[in-house]
Each structure stands twice: as structure tokens, then as C-alpha cells.
Amino acid sequence: MPFIEINNVSFTYPDAAIPAIKNLSLQIEKGQFVVLFGSSGSGKSTLLRLLKKEIQPHGELSGEILVEGRPLKVKNEIGFVFQDPENQVVADDVLHEIVFGLENLGITPNEMRSRVAEMVHFFGAEPLLHRKTHELSGGKKQQINLASVLLMQPNILILDEPTAQLDPVSSRELLDILIRLNDEFGMTVILAEHRLEEVLPLADKIFMMEKGEISIEGDPRDVLKEIWNSPNHPFVPTIPSLFFSMNGQGIIPLTVKEGRKWVQSGIQLKKEHKKFVSIGVECLKAKDIYFRYEKKSDFILNELDFSLHKGEFYALLGGNGSGKSTFLKVLGGMLKPEKGKIDSKKKRQTIGYLPQNPKLFFIHDTVGKEIQDTIEKWGGEPAPILENLGISHLMNCHPYDLSGGELQKAAIACLLMRKPEILLLDEPTKGLDPISKRNLANILFQLNAEGVTILMSTHDIEFAALHASKCGMMFQGRITSEGQPENFFQGNFFYTTMIQRLFRGLDTVRETVESCEL
């Protein structure tokens, strides 16, 4: 008997024309590590929420959901971790936060103390206990959220895109914890995730969702080929993609290790033309910038020099807290540096800034009003831009009802009305599924071709390697290295693409596949 069984479940939100989940059936065995993926709006979150009684959305539900052969009840056998690390936090203090669930269950203080001691030890979180929650990084916050859920001793752990808001190092840390929980304690883990790169080798079973249905399911190696041949092929990670595009034979490589084995078995790669970038005149220059948020605190930007040339597509990489966001705000003239000068040949109007959280960009309650407001302020003709971005139909929507990708496009549309010459984008790839990411890349490419200079900060190394004309690394408040992606990634060990890792030290085939179309 399967551990979790979903039989012919359909679910329709109130006032929705079409069901969010359509006649869906699936089975999960005890102790499995299951990955659920699909583009945003495919019904992943809805499905996961249906599994937990306490947070089931309102609407019309039919079919049956069984856990161990019994229907769901309100009991805390299922732990749920959400996407946004910040919004799940209830208390201002880490210790209060992790015991929140236990207190709700009415556990005795003695039992609580022993559970907390154990869990804190497991997470190695002793130094964090007395910290304020808002001082923690997103990754640490997400770990605290997980710890709080685990203290309630669930049998099943459900995570809804827990790493979408995290940088690569933090997401790896979180995934490592999940692997341990699954391996060492046999906990059943159900994970919704966009970035399959890291989770595919771990998964026992993967489900691809499309329009409220499960379109493909099975062991990762068995079904990857099927996904590769479907319109959802951007979901396939780099290494298997390379394998498929080369018509590779044998076992599909999922990890770098397996990939290197396959590469060494002798494959021929075709030479590709490198992107040629004509570099224009310098259009934005920062010289000797110092910045900090408060007097007496440490400098966020420290003796930073930077120059951006016309027509460039610059990707700024670097860990959390290295100062990328702050630097973009300083460049955009929103924050004043304590020392140093921003040299811009252009007026402020020509610099467009897209914040990391585009929700805060919108001041009006519909997209249309926001666009209208922009026209009043800056002039411009909206129709072609909206047409081009494919968001003309969203004019009457509230910004918060849009998906992440749509919201971003709407904000970009507002920026483009001003006819900017420079676009500053703060982590535009954050939380986007591979298909939206590809759309974004196309938009940025087109703009770049029309002569807009682009500077974006990102954690997405593959994206930077594939699309940027120049990459820079930010470390401790300054840019420590920069170069064209081909050269930039070759020297790095961690901050490098999968392909680079695959070919490291294998001289014969190096340098050939950086721009391989995946």
C-alpha cells in the first residue's frame, strides 16, 4: 500500500473558470524523496497545500487524498516549509521562532527543552539562538523555518520551492539537510523545485506538472529523455542537456562526476563561434566608492571602482551580502556614497532600476494605472512595448495577482517607457522557472541589441555565462575580478558553470562548449 495516495483529485478555486488541479492521481512510497516541478501556475503549490489539511485553500475539492490508507486529518504529521524565508517567521528572536510550533501543540516544557537541544545540535545552530531573526541571511532563516517544523516531528516533509529565494551556497546547504533527513531518518520528502540541477541525483521519483495535471512521472533517468523531447525541455539541467544534444549513448549523466566519466569516454564536440561584443564608450563610471548604511558600521562598498560601457550586458556575481544590491542602488543614484563619485554622462531619467522585489515597484492598484502614471511623468508610447512583452491583457489586474514573471515584465514595461539607456536589474532571475527565465533572456537580448546597456546582479551562473557579455565578481564591497564569461569562469572553482566543471583539466575539449545552446 502506498504511503501517500491521491486518487482522481480535482480542485477549483472559487470563481475560477478552469480547475487548478484536474483529475490528478499519484502515489508516493514511504521514505521516498520526491521532486515536483513544472512552470509557475502549473498547480504545484495548490497540490502541496491540498496535502496539508490546516492550509488547504478554499474551493471545490473532489476525489480522495489518503495517507497510510486514511483520509487526512488535522494532526501534525505533515511538516510544511514555504518559499519565502522572511514571511514564515513569526517571532523576532530565533529561539522563540523554533519553539513556536511546539508551544502550539501544548508540549510540556521539559519535553520541549530536550527536543530543542537535539534539533539545535543537529542544525549546528547554537550561535544563532539568541540572534534576532531579521539579522539572519535568507538561507539561515530557511534553516530555522525547517528546524521549527522538524521539532514537531512530522512523518512527511513538504517544501514548496524552499530554495527559490536563496543563493547557490545556501540552497546547497538546505538540500544537504534534506538529504540527511531522508537518508538517515527515512523521512518522506516532497519537494517542489525549479532548479533540477542539484535535486535530480537525489530524487527517487520526479513528477512534472502541467496545467494541473501530472504529465510525466518516474525515475529521473527514465523520464529525462521524455522531458527533453517535450516543450518543457528548459527544465532539463545542463549536463543531461549536453548529453542529449550530443546524442549521447549509455547511462544519462546527472552529476558532474558522471558527466566527466561520460566525457572522458571520448566525445567529439563541435567548435562554436564565440560571441563578439563591440565595446562602446564608457557610459557609467564609479570611482573610489565608499558606502555604509550607518555611521560606525562596516563599509558595504569599499574602495569600489567600476565602469560600464555602452552596449554591454554586464552580469555582477557574488555571494549574499557582498554588496551587489547596494551597489546597484548607489549607481542608480538612490543612495549617496559616503565618498567617491558616480560619473554618468546621462541624466537620471535614462537609468532604469528594477528592484529585487518588483512588488514594491508598483504604487497603483492596477498595472494599467501604473503605466498611465508613468506616461504622465515621462511620456512615451505604451502600446508597442506592452505588445512586445506580451502583457497587454494584464492591464486591469492587480500587480499582486500576477505571477513572478509577469510582474517583472510589467515593471520592465514601466521602465522602458522612459526610453532608458541603462538598465540596472537586481537579481531578475530570482525565483523564476526555466521557461520564464528564457523569456527574460530573450527580452534582455532584444533590448541589448537595440542599444540598451544592461547591468544585472545575479546568483545564476549558468544564466550569466550564457547571456552576459561581461561578468564581474563582487567580494567584500569591491569588484575583485571581471572579464568575458569564457575567461571569467575558467579560473573559478565554485563560481563556475557546470560545463566548466565537466571539462576542468581535460584539455582536448575545453573552451568548446561555453556557448553551447542548451
Partner: protein, 299 residues
């Protein structure tokens, strides 16, 4: 001890929150009840000493102007509105200024200054955690509310800062331009702040529900243990407080102004009550001395 302060906590801070809270509650009521210049004067000295031990008076210095003006205003305004009393100091037009009114105002001013100084020390010692702990015992729902508020106020502040930076990049600013435009912009800021916060709070509510909030009777994690020392301290405070109250309601430690003003001279019983009163107020200092002694002895 689960919640150590960053610096080495002194003896008084290490007590169970119930003891600390009782001290402040007791001291507050005594400052209001014992309206006698000598009592209040010495009390202020003791409270300042407590503040000095805590943060070298940096808190008091910050509030000094406020404390002084409040005190001064009471001393000035009381005689202005209150003409009762037999000893007329001087007359101005139709108004009599009496010694009684000035004395009464002066004592109230001292009492207020004492209370403010006490609150400065209270703020330093009774961290939100301790308060939360106390409340979660008696009023669990209120404790949750307090906890959420504690997180939300700084959160909203950070969000507002973020909004203003982003909107500035769009040319909407509250610091530049015409006054009317600025007010409009500020209203819009608040509007996004509220919409956004409500939207995000839905997720917080989900996360609370997913962790079983509202599913039954809540218990609370014991951050602080009630030790034997805490029991002794509580006993000490309660006993003194009751004795002083007894004295106060037998008419000691209180300067009668109306109908007939007493002399400030202390009777024997007054002195006795004053001693008890000082023993109560200097509890934080005494524990300090006790701590030092124990340190010496153990060495």
C-alpha cells in the same frame, strides 16, 4: 540561563523575570504613594545609582531634558491652578501663590522624575523576551500579539525604507518637489506598505496555521527557571513592600499638605519606614554587593 545579555549580566539581571518585574512594579507604586520630599529625594538618588550601575547614566542623559522640563512644568503649573493653602508666599493680581501648592507640586515633580528614571532602568533590564515570558504564562493570546508586534514594527520600518528607495528611482519622492506632491507621495508610500504587508501577512498566517497555531491549548517554552535565589528575593521584596504599605497607611512616610501642612521633620516611625523603603529600592544594588562578597569568599 537561556537569555544572556551581550555584556556580562549583573546579578540583578540574572533574576527570574517575575522577581525583576515585581521590583519595578513595587518601586513604581511606592514612588507614587510615598509623597514625602525626603523619601522621594533619597529615592531619586538610589534610582540614579541603579542607572549608573547599568549604563553609566547614558539612558538618563538622553532623557534628561524631558525629565527636567516635565518636573519644572509641574512645579510651575500646580501653584497656577491651585490656590488652596494657608501660607501665602506672594500674590499676583487676583492669584494667591501658596507654600502648600508649591510643596505639593514639588513632590509630584519629584515623584514623576523618579518614575521616569525608574522606567529608563526598566527598559534596560526588562527585555521584550522577559516580558513575553511573563505574559505567556498569564495571557497567552496577548503574548502572541506582543511577539508579532515586536517583529512587525522593525519589519515595517525596513520595508518603508526599501519602498522609498525604489520609488525614488521612479521619480516619486517625499523629500523633493512641491509640498502637495510630497504629501501625495507619502500617502502612496503608506498605501503600498499596507497592501504589501497585508499580502505578505497571509503567508505568515499560513505558516502559523501549518505549525498548529490555534489547534489547542498553548504551552510555553521555559526560558527562565525559578531558582531558590529567586524565591528568596521575591520573599524579601514582598515582605518589605507589605511592611512599608502598613507604615504608609498608618500615616508614615507621607507629608500631609492639606488641610494643615506638616513639618518635614521625620518621626521615629517615619525614619523606620524610610529605612525599609530604601532597603526595597536599593535591592538591585544590594544584590550586586552580595554578588561581589560571594565572589571574594569563593576566592
Amino acid at each position: 540561563m537561556m537569555f544572556g545579555e551581550q555584556s556580562m549580566p549583573n546579578q540583578f539581571e540574572r533574576f527570574h523575570p517575575l522577581v525583576t518585574f515585581s521590583f519595578y512594579a513595587g518601586a513604581l507604586s511606592l514612588l507614587i504613594l510615598m509623597l514625602h520630599p525626603v523619601f522621594l529625594g533619597t529615592a531619586i538618588v538610589v534610582i540614579l545609582a541603579i542607572n549608573y550601575r547599568q549604563d553609566h547614566l547614558s539612558g538618563v542623559r538622553r532623557w534628561l531634558i524631558f525629565m527636567m522640563t516635565t518636573g519644572l512644568l509641574i512645579v510651575i503649573f500646580n501653584p497656577l491652578f491651585n490656590e488652596r493653602g494657608r501660607h501665602v508666599l506672594f500674590e499676583m493680581g487676583q492669584r494667591r501663590f501658596t507654600l502648600e501648592a508649591v510643596t505639593y507640586g514639588g513632590m509630584n515633580a519629584l515623584s514623576i522624575i523618579g518614575v521616569l528614571a525608574l522606567f529608563i532602568s526598566y527598559n534596560e533590564i526588562m527585555t521584550p523576551n522577559k516580558l513575553l515570558f511573563l505574559f505567556s504564562k498569564f495571557m497567552p493570546q496577548f503574548a502572541i500579539l506582543l511577539m508579532l508586534t515586536l517583529r512587525f514594527i522593525p519589519l515595517m520600518k525596513r520595508r518603508l525604507a526599501e519602498i522609498s528607495v525604489i520609488q525614488m528611482s521612479k521619480g516619486i519622492s517625499v523629500t523633493h518637489g512641491k509640498w502637495k506632491g510630497r504629501v501625495k507621495a507619502a500617502m502612496q508610500y503608506i498605501q503600498i506598505l499596507l497592501t504589501y504587508s497585508l499580502e505578505e501577512a497571509i503567508q505568515t498566517a499560513d505558516s502559523m496555521k501549518a505549525r498548529g497555531y490555534g489547534s489547542g491549548i498553548r504551552t510555553s517554552y521555559e526560558y527562565f527557571r525559578f531558582k531558590k535565589m529567586d524565591g528568596l528575593a521575591l520573599f524579601y521584596l514582598v515582605m518589605l513592600f507589605l511592611l512599608i504599605l502598613n507604615g504608609r497607611f498608618s500615616g508614615y512616610g507621607f507629608l500631609n499638605v492639606y488641610p494643615i501642612m506638616e513639618s518635614c521633620q521625620l518621626t521615629k516611625m517615619d525614619t523606620f519606614t524610610l529605612t525599609l523603603f530604601l532597603f526595597f529600592l536599593s535591592f538591585p544594588l544590594l544584590t550586586e554587593i552580595g554578588g561581589v562578597f560571594r565572589c571574594r569568599l569563593s576566592k
